[in-house]
């Protein structure tokens, strides 16, 4: 009986938004710049040039390592990874091999109620340099080295995923986290975040291993993925996926493709495939001739990294999105859905907190009686009733204004009501007959005439008063 279980791991690259490149002082922000205008002897791989590492890039790697609950290695170093390709100026990439900066972490995927659905293990996080960019022209390939040498963090997960929805959730949460830390724009379209899934599928044979307490859904769902069969001895790497939407498509297609092969009694080949966005399929890529022998060895031009515990401790994490969300719900009494939206973006949440902090002394002005002012501010931000481009003070003023009971020109109001009642006799009759809804129509007409200068409640009261006279 064939039941198939996908096994998916991710390799994610994140380009850091440091000011300088990883090993030289050229500008790291290459987007939209004229080709080969942000280069120097180091990132061009010229004779005699030497690398010196960027301290901030290392700190940010430790930061993301901590945010993903990794162990930060006290000793770390850079290594050379050799291969030939036109976008690789030195004929080797300076990367990290056996002593990366961070290892053995975890990151949780949560469901729509923000409950932990699954914990994904992070195998390692290391730091390396990006390559140049290749552009294909009519009769050749063109190379721009502005991107060569930009710092790149590589995050490798264990193959703990078994479906594409979880992968998408994971990537979205990871993106929020990375942006929260302020270390990268993590934009898949711009290429500041790239990912490659490794996908295999295995057939589940009837298993002796039963999950105890099947009825206890919570335990079942939070359990770390357990292997009760052997790992398949192939995996397919998929490249060229440029958005979260395509991630799901690509993975689903690939799972289906592999299952078909397995059903036919064959084993899918270990290979690298590309993803075609237009057709929504994966296709085999020309395989590199043989398994790459990268001939790693420790980078002799860069002394090793030794991190004192004090130093590691000094790199402090800001409040993370999940922590903030919990705080908004439990301490501020904000509705979960609203707190979720507010905490997706760090700037947004900081703005929100600045407002509620400042407005504390002016609550009386809000005329909200016993309502939660924090929730009200949240509403106004989320519903975009007041622009978040305004300064804190401007926002607060606008808010106070908005919540002020509106002062009406009573004389005008009576005049307008009279006019409306006169022109809408049928509605008045209907109301008198007992059709209470008719009054809403009358209220509406008066509001229209008053051009928002009257409050609906008050208008209705007045109309009722007058009609019942």
């Amino acid at each position: 009986m064939g039941s198939y279980q996908p096994i998916i791991g991710l390799e994610i690259h994140v380009e850091l938004k440091t000011s300088s490149k990883m090993f030289c002082q050229c500008f790291a922000d290459y987007f939209g710049k004229e080709p080969n205008t942000q280069v120097c002897p180091v990132c061009l791989g010229m004779p005699g040039a030497l690398p010196v590492p960027n301290k901030k890039a290392i700190e940010w790697t430790i930061l993301i390592g901590k945010a993903l609950n990794c162990k930060i290695n006290r000793f770390s170093k850079f290594d050379r990874k050799h291969y030939f390709y036109p976008d690789l100026p030195k004929g080797y990439q300076i990367s990290q091999y056996d002593e990366p900066i961070a290892q053995n972490g975890k990151f949780e995927i949560r469901d729509s109620k923000f409950e932990i659905k699954k914990t994904i293990r992070i195998r390692r996080i290391h730091l390396e340099e990006d390559t140049g960019k290749l552009i294909h022209s009519k009769n050749g390939t063109l190379i721009d080295f502005n991107r060569a040498g930009v710092p790149l963090i590589e995050i490798v997960t264990e193959p703990d995923f078994d479906n594409s929805d979880d992968v998408k959730r994971f990537l979205e949460e990871l993106q929020v986290l990375i942006r929260y830390l302020g270390i990268s724009d993590a934009d898949m379209e711009k290429g500041t975040m790239r990912m490659e899934p490794n996908i295999s599928v295995r057939e589940i044979r009837s298993t002796k291993h039963e999950i105890r307490n099947k009825s206890d859904k919570k335990i079942q769902n939070t359990k770390l993925y357990s292997q009760n069969n052997d790992m398949p001895n192939y995996k397919v790497e998929v490249k060229n996926i440029n958005s979260f939407r395509f991630v799901k498509q690509a993975i689903d297609y690939e799972i289906k493709r592999q299952i078909e092969i397995l059903k036919s009694g064959k084993l899918p080949s270990q290979e690298t495939r590309g993803f075609d966005e237009k057709k929504g399929i994966t296709y085999p890529q020309r395989t590199k001739e043989e398994a790459s022998d990268y001939r790693y060895f420790p980078e002799p031009d860069i002394p090793p990294l030794v991190f004192a515990q004090d130093y590691i401790n000094s790199i402090k994490l800001p409040e993370l999105p999940s922590q903030k969300l919990n705080r908004y719900v439990s301490d501020f009494g904000i509705r979960f859905e609203d707190a979720f939206i507010l905490t997706r973006d760090r700037k947004m949440s900081e703005y929100f907190e600045a407002i509620i902090s400042k407005i504390k002394n002016q609550i009386a002005k809000l005329h909200i009686k016993n309502q939660n002012y924090k929730q009200i501010v949240a509403n106004f931000i989320i519903n975009k009733k007041i622009s978040t481009q305004l300064s804190i003070d401007e926002f607060i003023n606008k808010l106070i204004d908005n919540l002020k009971p509106k002062e009406v020109d009573r004389k005008l109001l009576i005049e307008v009501i009279d006019k409306v009642l006169k022109n809408n006799q049928k509605a008045v009759e209907d109301y008198k007959k007992g059709k209470t809804n008719a009054i809403m129509f009358l209220v509406g007409q008066v509001m229209k005439e008053m051009r928002g200068k009257a409050e609906a409640k008050m208008v209705r009261e007045e109309i009722e008063k007058i009609i019942n006279q």
Partner: protein
């Protein structure tokens, strides 16, 4: 008359306005015109000096052609870079230029600094000024020949394992290998990153001290340079110090009899001067050769990976056969399955060699030994020796592997062929002032048995 004047004395003459920069540079350019064709020591001569009226004082110096000199062709003696004009300056040459030097020209070397004879240059070998049928040594053969024949008052070379000391010994001049990390490698075309050391080749100890002070010191562009303060070598060499000098049998094995004789002669003199000679034991230098071979080949194959002709230079089909061989072996020792057996093992033996020196330097201040086992070989004889003759570096390699400083100086000529004999002093890490100090004492006491003076006599104006 300038002939044979040291760098420091030329500086004095210029400072005292007894001579002009133009005169000095013209003088050397004339000599180069006369002798370079015969010696093939310079690959590029810099005739670009513009004689402006209020120009600064400029002293000429020759630079080995593996240092990137801005807008002056730099080839590493390889056809891969035969027309390469660097758009940037190496730190060593920048510091020299800032200190009023003028780059007289770029000197010949074994291609990519791979070799001990300068015969693997893609632009022809350099001849030994003492005997044109012989090699001046290598890889800094061009720099050594230039100084030995006074085609420049001093030169800069680089050493990975003997490449400054060995040609200095064979050409009868002084060659200093500073401690690894003392002098910046930024702009030095990389050979073996963990071994390369830029250093001076000179006629006097003062000159070596003078140049070292200028080029040494931390460089923000080279992460392997140390922050230690640079001593005032120039004044330190004149301090009256007495040393405990170690000598060892291991470094006399297979050494030419006449060289041994010179060695013992110097020992007697040193004892008379009041220094203490002490017998020590060191690991056989043959292990250093293996360590060196593995590490150097691995790093070289990696450092030469960038030469693909795409951004600059010619493509990889332009590599000479020696370069190709080293690249292949480097790929081998790093390749899957062999890394542990070779590269890692070599790095471990390296640790042993370092510990060995640390132990010995607790008992002695300096170590005296011959620089090379034999004097200058005839051109073409190298092929008979393994590693294309690198075995000549056997006595130089332990210092290279451990990173300590060392200096070679001439001490007499062989009676057999009238060739210079070179002896060397090795000192503790970052104690260049000690080896310079004792060399200065020897110079003052013996004048190196007249070698340098007599060498230059063969090259009259």
């Amino acid at each position: 008359m300038l002939l044979g004047k040291s760098l420091v004395s030329i500086f004095k003459l210029l400072n005292d306005k007894k001579i002009s920069s133009k005169e000095v540079i013209d003088y050397f350019l004339k000599r180069i015109e006369k002798y370079n064709q015969k010696l093939n020591a310079y690959l590029t001569v810099n005739k670009s000096y513009k004689f402006k009226k209020d120009d600064k004082l400029r002293v000429p110096i020759a630079i080995k052609d593996n240092f990137c000199t801005k807008n002056i062709k730099t080839t590493a003696s390889s056809k891969v870079l035969e027309n390469f004009i660097p758009p940037y300056e190496s730190t060593v040459t920048k510091r020299l230029l800032d200190a009023s030097f003028f780059i007289l020209g770029k000197t010949n070397l074994d291609a990519w600094a791979h070799g001990s004879s300068t015969e693997t240059s893609d632009f022809g070998p350099t001849k030994n000024p003492w005997d044109l049928s012989r090699s001046p040594g290598g890889s800094s053969g061009g720099s050594a020949a230039v100084v030995s024949s006074y085609l420049a008052p001093a030169a800069i070379g680089s050493e990975t394992a003997g490449s400054i000391r060995q040609p200095s010994a064979w050409s009868g001049i002084i060659g200093l290998k500073p401690t690894y990390g003392r002098v910046s490698r930024y702009g030095l075309i990389a050979m073996a990153s963990s071994l390369d050391c830029p250093g001076p080749l000179t006629l006097t100890t003062e000159d070596a001290a003078f140049i070292l002070k200028i080029i040494a010191g931390k460089d923000k562009f080279d992460a392997t340079t140390v922050e230690f303060e640079v001593p005032d070598y120039f004044s330190k060499i004149k301090e009256k110090k007495k040393f405990i000098i170690g000598i060892t049998e291991e470094y006399l094995e297979g050494v030419d009899d006449e060289i041994k004789e010179a060695f013992y002669q110097l020992i007697k003199i040193l004892e008379k001067m009041g220094h203490q000679i002490k017998k020590i034991k060191l690991l056989s230098p043959k292990y250093a050769i293996s360590v060196y071979t593995v590490i150097q080949r691995a790093e070289v194959s990696s450092n030469l990976a960038r030469y693909d002709g795409l951004r600059y230079g010619n493509d990889r089909t332009f590599f000479g056969s020696e370069a190709k061989r080293r690249i292949m072996l480097g790929a081998y020792v790093l390749s899957y399955g062999y890394y542990d057996a070779y590269y890692k093992k070599a790095q471990k033996v390296r640790t042993l060699i370092i510990e060995d020196f640390k132990k010995v330097f607790k008992e002695v201040d300096l170590i005296l030994a011959p620089t090379t086992p034999i004097p200058a070989l005839k051109l073409g004889e190298f092929e008979k020796y393994p590693f294309f003759g690198e075995i000549m570096d056997i006595l130089a390699e332990p210092a290279a592997i451990s990173g300590i400083c060392a200096i070679s100086f001439p001490f007499g000529l062989t009676k057999k062929n009238n060739l210079p004999i070179g002896l060397q002093l090795m000192g503790r890490w970052f104690e260049e002032e000690n080896i310079l100090n004792l060399t200065y004492q020897i110079e003052k006491e013996t004048d190196f048995l007249g070698v340098i003076k007599n060498g230059i006599k063969n090259y009259p104006d």
